[in-house]
Symmetry: C2
Subunit: 146 residues, 2 copies
DNA sequence: ATAGAGATGATAATGATTATCAGTGATATA
DNA sequence: TATATCACTGATAATCATTATCATCTCTAT
């Protein structure tokens, strides 16, 4: 229903697909590549499940992140944002945050692996990493320099 | 009083050095390499300035981060942590966070620069980046696998 | 000394997130 | 099919880090 990988993760974790959870997952699928706050998810989920409450949204997002269906991260506004993982990407992904317009772009890259290699040589077990670039995007850079 | 670079930054920004601010800066110097929360700074600052209040701590840390004397970042406990910048390090620095004991190690590395180069080719102006590795440190890895 | 600006501490307000709890719905077993 | 159990939900209170407010204090410059 949601793609093989997601369905497997749900099943592996005994995660019952209620109407509310389905609505939230649908919202996240509809917003592939975007980074939604709990409040934003609530608004969209209410279009499908008018009575859904914010607590359920938090609970569900938290759980979906824990079982690796969503990414959870924070940028520059003190609230967590969630994004659906796509099947092909590895467990790492990298964000490019524009300091002016706040737009967030993705950066997929493997250079980081060599850094991880170094760490593992030193006895660390690398589980994940998070990399954020803070930039002016081409558009805002233009505006800024006028 | 606090080293040339810090003093310059204070002067450039018309930042008056009151007793409270001095206390906070001293605390940060005493904890070079550690990542303190506002509350932790308060406790130590009170040893030097018994009446200092939490609001002043927040205000001061915020300002010192804005004028580039401190780093501000968040790890896995939903509170900002501050760390003094050392004069030699560049504007980027990278953290290695142990998922078991929470210890934070530093990683200085220049490989990231090539990534930035790519972004700049694409028209982005890279201002800063933040990279966190989530790992099991050698000690915790050992424990975990027993 | 004195006016005005900046700084401070106490505390109220805010805002995101989490906990609680009573009610609801699904499930499994007899 | 009835029923006991257990997970799930929504409303809302509680929490906790951070920010705003405001009266007071303290510099500094005239």
């Amino acid at each position: 229903m949601f793609g093989k990988s997601i369905n497997n993760k749900l099943k592996d974790n005994d995660y019952r697909l209620t109407g509310q959870r389905t609505a939230i997952l649908e919202v996240m699928m509809d917003n592939q590549g975007r980074h939604l706050s709990a409040e934003e998810v609530l608004v969209q989920a209410r279009e499908k499940q008018p009575n859904i409450g914010i607590a359920t949204v938090y609970r569900t997002l938290e759980k979906l992140a824990a079982i690796d269906i969503l990414y959870k991260s924070m940028f520059n506004d003190d609230k967590y944002r969630y994004e659906i993982k796509d099947d092909h990407s590895e467990h790492h992904h990298h964000h490019i945050v524009c300091l002016a317009c706040g737009k967030i772009a993705e950066l997929e890259d493997d250079l980081l692996c060599s850094l991880e290699g170094q760490l593992e040589t030193q006895g660390f077990e690398v589980v994940d990493h998070e990399l954020k670039f803070f930039v002016y995007c081409p558009v805002c850079r233009e505006k800024k320099n006028k």
